[in-house]
Symmetry: C2
């Protein structure tokens, strides 16, 4: 993959004025992504339309235009907009200007201070994430900031509150209108970066380990991408239970850090067969496998399960190779995915499950989980590890950092413009779109370039 991208240039915000136009980038009712092809023509690995979602959490709207009567001085804000599916350059920094939004009942206006970058956004940019409304759309599923206005019927939030906010999309902008139910008060000692890093990674890890699986003392867990956002969250949560053994796969350079973080046995999956490595240490296998990779890795994970063990599939990172959608990688992941009948499961005493936070609509579960997580944070039992923070104009570098497997922990995006004196530091490489990205043996071909540490 090295060499396929052109030099990075720092993004200059595009001015975009639409004071009267109705918002088009996002709306409260997210649509199915229209850009993905039919499942017949192309494996629908991550793009198959959801079957059973009753009430998807609302996407964050860019602040809706005010009714003419309520018109005040216009609001101008920076936003990272996905303009189409493809390479890094499809995510553009735009400056939007519109009338001050009139909040609906139950909504709050948040001045966003920090946003989380998730692997899902790499997928979404390639057109592989079915829960993002079709482009043009402001991306971003989580962030933190300060409440700037509250709508009617919002009694438990007030102007000035520091909150974490969660949405289907639209958090990557300087101001965002979100449902008050999807905001959570931040503890005083929590930084905005930590707040933006907590929600998706820790909720995902927590629900998998404690709601779906039944993590108890003495169990063993295989965590893939153990140095990533979810991986570090899962490792920390494993430490809250006595005597849990963690096998963690990650690129070799990250092993020291993840060992300090609680991984019992780090494994370099890029140079070693992790199944063999685990069998050497634990011939009987493991109790829980968290699988964000999909494809043949799900089969391997299943084979590693001890009786009464569970594998949870919660991602298809194997679909991502080059910068843009790779049909071959998708097909491979799709066709190699584990498919099972129940008789086989009976004879092996194993459990297979799937997890996707985006399809969970149980508000009680969300708030219960968040309050547990905030409690654990206050007790010092969990603490998001920030890998790096990039200003909006550096979004390409942020995405590259994750795509090129450099990050240890969370990659953060900051809406605030970069100060002049900081600027020279990061005029590295740009998101130029190169056609030739059909990397089949993805892991070997990627020469990871350390842009930033």
């Amino acid at each position: 993959m090295s060499g396929e991208e052109g030099p990075t240039q720092q993004q200059q915000p595009e001015q975009e004025k639409k004071p009267d136009e109705p918002p088009s980038a996002a709306s409260d009712a997210p649509q199915q992504e229209s850009g993905s092809s039919s499942p017949a023509a192309e494996p629908a690995a991550v793009a198959e339309p959801p079957a059973a979602v009753a009430e998807p959490p609302a996407a964050v709207a860019e602040p809706p235009a005010a009714t003419p009567a309520a018109e005040e001085k216009p609001l101008s804000f920076r936003a990272l907009v996905l303009t189409g599916h493809g390479g890094y350059d499809k995510v553009k920094l735009q400056v939007k200007t519109m009338a001050k939004p009139k909040l609906k009942a139950g909504e709050v206006l948040v001045r966003v201070k920090a946003c989380g970058l998730n692997f899902a956004e790499l997928l979404a940019r390639q057109g592989l994430y079915e829960l993002l409304p079709s482009p043009p759309v402001t991306m971003g599923m989580e962030g933190s900031g300060v409440i700037e206005a509250v709508g009617e019927d919002v009694n438990d939030r007030k102007v000035g509150d520091r909150v974490i906010a969660l949405a289907r999309s639209g958090m990557w902008q300087e101001v965002a209108v979100v449902s008050a139910d999807r905001t959570f008060l931040m503890p005083e000692e929590m930084s905005f970066e930590e707040g933006a890093a907590l929600t998706i990674n820790y909720m995902t890890a927590y629900m998998m380990l404690f709601e779906m699986a039944n993590l108890r003392p003495g169990k063993s867990v295989l965590i893939h991408m153990a140095a990533g956002g979810v991986g570090i969250a899962a490792t920390q949560l494993c430490q809250t239970v006595q005597d849990v053994t963690v096998f963690g796969t990650a690129s070799a350079s990250k092993h020291e850090t993840i060992t300090q973080g609680g991984v019992t046995h780090p494994i370099d999956y890029r140079t070693k067969d992790y199944v063999e490595e685990i069998r050497k240490i634990s011939p009987k296998g493991v109790d829980i496998v968290l699988d964000p990779l999909g494809g043949s890795d799900t089969q391997k994970g299943y084979s590693l399960l001890k009786p009464l063990g569970m594998i949870i599939v919660f991602g298809a990172a194997n679909c991502v190779t080059g910068q843009r959608k790779n049909l071959l990688a998708m097909a491979k992941t799709w066709y190699n995915q584990l498919s099972l009948n129940t008789m086989k499961l009976m004879q092996s005493n194993k459990a297979v499950s799937g997890f996707h936070l985006g399809y969970i609509t149980d508000e009680q579960l969300f708030s219960r989980t968040m309050s547990t997580l905030l409690e654990l944070y206050k007790q010092g039992k969990i603490k998001p590890r920030i890998d790096s923070s990039y200003h909006f104009e550096e979004v390409t570098e942020a995405m590259k950092r994750m795509h090129e497997r450099q990050n240890i922990g969370k990659v953060i995006l900051l809406p605030e413009p970069k100060k002049e004196e900081e600027k020279p530091k990061s005029n590295a490489e740009a998101g130029e779109n190169v056609e030739n990205d059909a990397a089949i043996s993805e892991k070997k071909e990627e020469e990871v370039k350390a842009e930033k540490d």
Copy 2:
């Protein structure tokens, strides 16, 4: 199905002498059942050879012949032997005579007082249970009795101990040699019938609810065959957790009993659509489904799961219709079984698992679970419900009682001969084998005859 069996006659034990012959009915290393056809020719629903069993628990041997040197006075005992696959008449009462067995290290000789009948034995008689060695073989997977002799290296059991004993097969005989590890001391207040009823039903229910699933306060559980052995065990175990809602399917005549036993919502699956009934009460569905039926019921159970819920498939009772193997019922169950890929699981946030006690080889898990269960028994939190007890010569009636869906709780077999004065009570119907048992619409065609209450 009514009318397909001839009149029952009480079995007269067949005398069988084989003092020198090596035991043929069972051996310590159970073989794969050879009577089942190839998976290609016939759906291998419950007869597929196991893939991953390392050390199957030893079958109980009929007491092995002593070495000539150790010969003492010969032992004569009654045993229920499966002589071939088919109808009720394939299980024959035989009297065996052989030299007093010489125990190997770690073994004990048990004088069996009561044995459990399990649904698996109905399957096994039809040739549908792959873990039973091929006929001729003494059946029976659980029993209780008194230790009559101990082998070397057995320190925690002594002559006179009242024990529960567990084995792959061979427990349906008056004396049995078992591994001391697979015996468990009975509390004083426990009857032999209760001892014989506890192990398989409660272990199965316990491991499913607490090891595989993660039963916690406030959850809801669907228990099929709720008036059966496992069903009643599962219902009682649900009562040990606060605020658990139990939906239980059973024939209507059993509803009063199971409601008293803790089923919150009994459902007559024979006259009503249980999916509809459950949705009426709980539109969002249930958290855990215990599925001993297989086939299309697994699909229904899956559809009923709430997000983060789990279905555990642990049987294929739908394969059983008439007295003998029914290819059509097997094919239906096989082809309708749930088969899933992991992407679908992700989008629905559900877990699918299989459970089979017979494939569990973790001795620690067995003894840990048994000691928990015995503790719960002592605390009065669980208590096996004995439906009925039959002497060995009445085995046909015992099997019929279960097959014809009459039992509420456990059916017990007693090795001891029936006393003369009891005899007139049960000369009802015999296990005559009738060809015509291809009952397709199994549930409706079965006119249940109340032979005994």
